[in-house]
Symmetry: none
Subunit: 266 residues, 2 copies
């Protein structure tokens, strides 16, 4: 809960408001896409899009809540010149609840299309999923802390599982990715990089108050920044995973629908 929010100009308030609404639309549109796109994939890759669809559905729900919380946290003053804190706290915890559910699913998505043999992928998904959940859970006590020392301690604790995830993605999973061919290999490397850059953005925002970065423009920057990172890390990432799954389906000779054959040919 962020209490005592700074005054915002109508432009600042609206920017965040419209970014949240944009994200609701994007996440649910991505959900519709990931559900429908499954039929274009070989059956063994459809489950990766099913997981993607869960991620963006959960995120769409939370952005809907975040949008409402933002709208309730501010009122336009009587002179219609500034938006002022309404006294109703802006509930930032929605983000952590969202990440607790979606971040483990995102690492699982990547493992699913990486081409690991079936016996190995289950264990890697479990390890990465647990590490991802631990990363989020350990960050939260620092996020709500009022003193910098507590924030730093939990921030460092949260970084440990993050480094473990990166280590697995770039060593253990890296060797599997290097065995892939053509476009699929490039796309897998891009997906891993997108994960590194978008996830790397969150700790920067987390540490912003530590660097004395506060007030109206910082609030707006943080909210817009988190939102762009979420769109890229969830909807954008899902599209990349789809491209990988499509590429692998084609490499393995999957044809979208055999009913497409003209009946006369039978």
């Amino acid at each position: 809960m962020v209490e005592g929010l700074p005054d915002l100009t109508p432009g600042q308030f609206s920017l965040v408001y419209n970014m949240f609404s944009f994200t609701v639309a994007t996440m649910f549109a991505a959900f519709v896409y990931f559900v429908q796109a499954q039929k274009n994939l070989a059956p063994k890759y459809r489950v990766s899009m099913m997981v993607s669809s869960l991620v963006v559905f959960i995120a769409g729900y939370h952005y809907f809540r975040i949008f409402n919380s933002w709208d309730a946290a501010y009122v336009l003053n009587d002179a219609a010149t500034m938006y002022e804190y309404s006294g109703k706290p802006f509930n930032d915890a929605y983000r952590y609840v969202d990440w607790l559910l979606t971040v483990p699913l995102l690492v699982i998505e990547l493992v699913m299309v990486s081409g690991l043999p079936k016996g190995k992928s289950g264990s890697m998904m479990a390890r990465l999923g647990i590490a991802a959940a631990a990363m989020i859970a350990l960050g939260y006590p620092g996020e709500i802390a009022t003193d910098t020392a507590t924030r730093v301690i939990w921030g460092i604790a949260s970084t440990v599982p993050f480094i473990y995830i990166l280590y697995v993605l770039f060593t253990e999973l890296g060797s599997t990715i290097n065995e892939q061919t053509g476009e699929v290999k490039v796309l897998l490397k891009n997906a891993r990089l997108l994960m590194l850059f978008t996830w790397g953005f969150y700790p920067i925002v987390y540490m912003a108050p530590f660097a004395g970065f506060e007030g109206a423009s910082s609030l707006v920057t943080i909210q817009v920044g988190y939102t762009i990172a979420d769109v890229a890390a969830k909807a954008g990432f899902g599209v990349l995973i789809y491209a990988i799954a499509k590429g692998k389906s084609e490499q393995e000779g999957f044809v979208v629908d055999e009913m497409a054959q003209p009946v006369a040919a039978q």
Copy 2:
């Protein structure tokens, strides 16, 4: 955000209110149609309807928001004779967020059914999609500008990618369309014309304040005008794309379902 809205008669207020509700219903109904109609198409054309379904889903969401924003922006006065500005701004930015997402998808839809070979269509979709997003993004600073000069400058900047899109549709894509046969060729030309006329309507509305076109009747005309243009450019356009995809599926010998064959024939 449109602040300080003019008073409206109950008839004016209700016309816009009901147009917005009509559009929510139309967009979501079009969504349901485009999802279900995919099974009637050859698999390679189904993705064009998937994209159409995303467009109308995103638009349905935004019209739902626009409807709520309109409703909140006005209150009926005590004498129940006029609707007056409530003090809560009408958020016109929903339209721009919507267009930013849907306009690139609309050009992609058209390219998908135009019959371009696979290698060429990807590049054209990327170029047209980027140009479409640039067209919207460049228009927005002018839309929210309070002085006419700024509006004109951004309006002109936005026209550059629009002309590029028209150039590609009528030259590069035009020669591909001319190679198509029969009904498909006519429908493709109609879809391109529908795009030209509906998209051409937006800059006219954009420039309305420039022509001194202001006040209650102008507000109503602009909102109703944008709404009709959106219904034609998204739901109507999607139906045309469906007809093209259906025509091409039939030309290529696709039969909806071989189970439809009489059992006696076996």
